[in-house]
């Protein structure tokens, strides 16, 4: 709208309200206008989000050695090699377990938490602030702290667990538990950490959804003699659905792409026994770049499916921005 600055103010207003006026000379400039304002943003997205997809697919069809030297076109060899790996199946199963357990537990814990934070009680603001800590802190930092707290001899979790007799109950008597030393228990703890770091965002999203429900609906229900539980079932649950679906999909995305938790706690090991497909992709990089690219493309398809679901469910078209 640079060219408007010289014209008198009322004229500019008229033009603004009618938007498209027939000024043939300025038409081209006008049509180019979005490019000045949006061009930089578009360039950044194109260069860093769209181009890498092309590079990734291209790499997966090449024969590139670990030093990075390109030996030419390899067709679908990388994909065939990837799917022939005996380790791929357990990795995929683990990824599914990881996704379902983390996301469902997060949603189930976040809902009562959000209900709790939606009530008035003394110190509510302080509790809200406490939830900020895992959200603001780098996930990898939180994972490192948990790794420290899970140390067999000196870790806080073992010390407290022993003091409370919890470890005794699950059959760990004399020796302290080496949680991260065994793949199964390590994976369970990673799931717990993933839930821990996913809770704040999920809780706040559900809370925002609850606060958007008009209070008079609850008052009307109260007048009609509805119990608190009935109001929750009949009002909160259905009206919270959009927020819950959005939180669910964003969580699916974050948890699927989650790398730092597993990486910092076990490096995906021993071997790849605690790796999900995202960590496995990173591990593959050191043995075969094209296979890592092929794994990325497979992961990318999963991510794309989640994005499409998000676009369909989030109802963005109905919103007026």
């Amino acid at each position: 709208m640079n060219e408007d600055s010289e014209t008198s103010a009322p004229q500019a207003m008229v033009r603004n309200s009618q938007r498209v006026t027939n000024v043939p000379k300025k038409n081209l400039i006008r049509r180019m206008e979005p490019i000045y304002w949006l061009g930089p943003a578009f360039l950044l997205i194109a260069g860093v989000v769209i181009m890498p997809v092309a590079f990734m697919v291209w790499t997966s069809f090449r024969n590139i050695d670990t030093v990075g030297f390109d030996h030419g076109f390899a067709g679908l060899a990388s994909y065939r090699n990837l799917f022939a790996l005996p380790d791929l199946r357990p990795v995929i199963i683990r990824t599914i377990v990881w996704l379902i357990s983390v996301v469902s537990a997060t949603m189930l814990i976040a809902l009562p938490l959000a209900v709790l934070l939606n009530r008035q009680f003394p110190g509510r603001r302080a509790v809200r602030m406490a939830l900020v800590a895992p959200w603001a802190t780098s996930v990898f930092m939180t994972a490192i702290i948990f790794r420290w707290m899970l140390q067999p001899q000196s870790g806080l979790i073992n010390i407290v667990g022993h003091a409370l007799g919890l470890l005794h109950n699950i059959g760990l008597t004399s020796a302290q538990a080496d949680w991260l030393g065994r793949p199964q228990s390590a994976f369970v703890w990673m799931i717990i950490v993933a839930i821990f770091v996913s809770l704040p965002f999920t809780t706040y999203t559900l809370l925002a959804g609850m606060q958007a429900i008009p209070g008079d609906i609850y008052e009307a229900a109260k007048v009609d003699g509805a119990s608190a539980w009935r109001s929750f079932r009949a009002i909160t649950m259905p009206l919270l659905k959009p927020a819950a679906v959005v939180a669910l999909l964003i969580n699916l995305m974050n948890v699927f792409n989650s790398f730092p938790i597993i990486w910092e706690m076990t490096r995906g090991g021993p071997g790849d026994q605690t790796a999900t497909s995202t960590v496995f992709m990173y591990q593959l990089k050191s043995s075969s770049i094209p296979m890592a690219a092929a794994m990325s493309v497979v992961n990318f398809v999963v991510v794309a499916v989640i994005v499409i679901m998000f676009l369909r469910f989030s109802n963005w078209k109905e919103r007026t921005i």
């Binding site: 950044l44 181009m51 590079f55 958007a212 992709m281 921005i321």
Partner: protein, 291 residues
């Protein structure tokens, strides 16, 4: 998208309305449950601080608290070269914040104020960027950036972090700007102000909460970023703090004292910064899909 400015006003009003109600026993019970939950969320970070101020010879023993507080980890970490990594992290985070603001603000202003061809396309593109994460594109980013010679550089990390935080910034700024009535700007035109004068004196100050939220969020996200930097930087002096700390974990003997002293320095300011914008972040992350 709903109007955040108005929503904030309504929220504070709601708090005032219910404040008069006396607290019942049930409320007190609920608050105790809430305090316990809050404590659980804080324990790891308190443990981080406790470990950082413990004398080295008391680490790895089964005591919960050290017998004395020792700040030597904080004074000696600079000799490990971590100061350089801290500097790289600052450069990347500040660079990304500036670039995101410079790119997202005009885009958000134009999208909020104009109907134009390709507007929907732009919004969907931004929404898709919002959903994708650099992890999913890691191999592609690496291939492209090594092609362009952008590995091991601050600039490379700045543009990656900018691109992936652009969506959040654009959404939240667009929401704030569209919640400001056009009439306010038009009134300024009547008074003889130019378009940019109106933008500077009316739109920007009113949209400031959104802009500040976007800036703080971008700063924190870039500051915390690990995966891309792990892939793109190899020279120790070009690595941000997250990658340097990841190197601690990879070692045979983990130097927990320095690891957590550095973590405290890089984490606590971020938590405090985040606390300022906490109330506005959800709207940007869910791309306004919640009414």
């Amino acid at each position: 998208m709903s109007i955040p400015v108005v929503k904030e006003a309504v929220r504070t009003e709601g708090v005032k309305r219910t404040r008069h109600r006396p607290l019942s026993t049930r409320d007190w019970l609920l608050s105790i449950v809430a305090y316990i939950i809050a404590a659980v969320f804080l324990v790891p970070y308190l443990e981080m601080i406790v470990t950082a101020v413990s004398p080295t010879n008391q680490l790895g023993t089964s005591r919960l608290f050290p017998s004395r507080i020792d700040f030597s980890n904080f004074t000696s970490l600079w000799s490990l070269g971590l100061g350089t990594n801290l500097g790289v992290s600052l450069e990347v985070a500040i660079g990304a914040t500036i670039l995101v603001t410079a790119v997202a603000l005009p885009a958000a202003y134009y999208t909020a104020r104009k109907k134009f061809r390709g507007r929907m396309f732009f919004l969907v593109l931004v929404l898709i960027t919002q959903m994708f994460q650099p992890t999913a594109l890691l191999v592609g980013i690496y291939a492209e950036f090594s092609h362009l010679g952008l590995t091991d550089s601050v600039f490379g990390l700045v543009i990656v972090n900018s691109a992936f935080n652009l969506a959040f910034a654009t959404w939240i700024m667009t929401a704030y700007i569209s919640s400001i009535p056009v009439e306010l700007e038009e009134a300024a035109f009547v008074d003889g102000t130019t378009r940019f004068g109106a933008l500077r004196r009316i739109t920007l100050p009113l949209a400031l909460p959104g802009i500040v939220t976007a800036m703080i969020f971008t700063f924190i996200a870039a500051w915390n970023e690990l995966v891309v930097a792990l892939m793109l930087t190899t020279t120790p002096s070009h690595q941000p703090l997250t990658v340097a700390l990841d190197g601690f974990i990879g070692g045979y003997q983990i130097d927990w004292g320095h690891l957590f002293a550095t973590s405290v320095i890089s984490t606590i300011p971020v938590i405090i910064l985040f606390a300022f914008i906490e109330g506005r972040v959800v709207g940007g992350l869910t791309a306004g899909s919640l009414k």
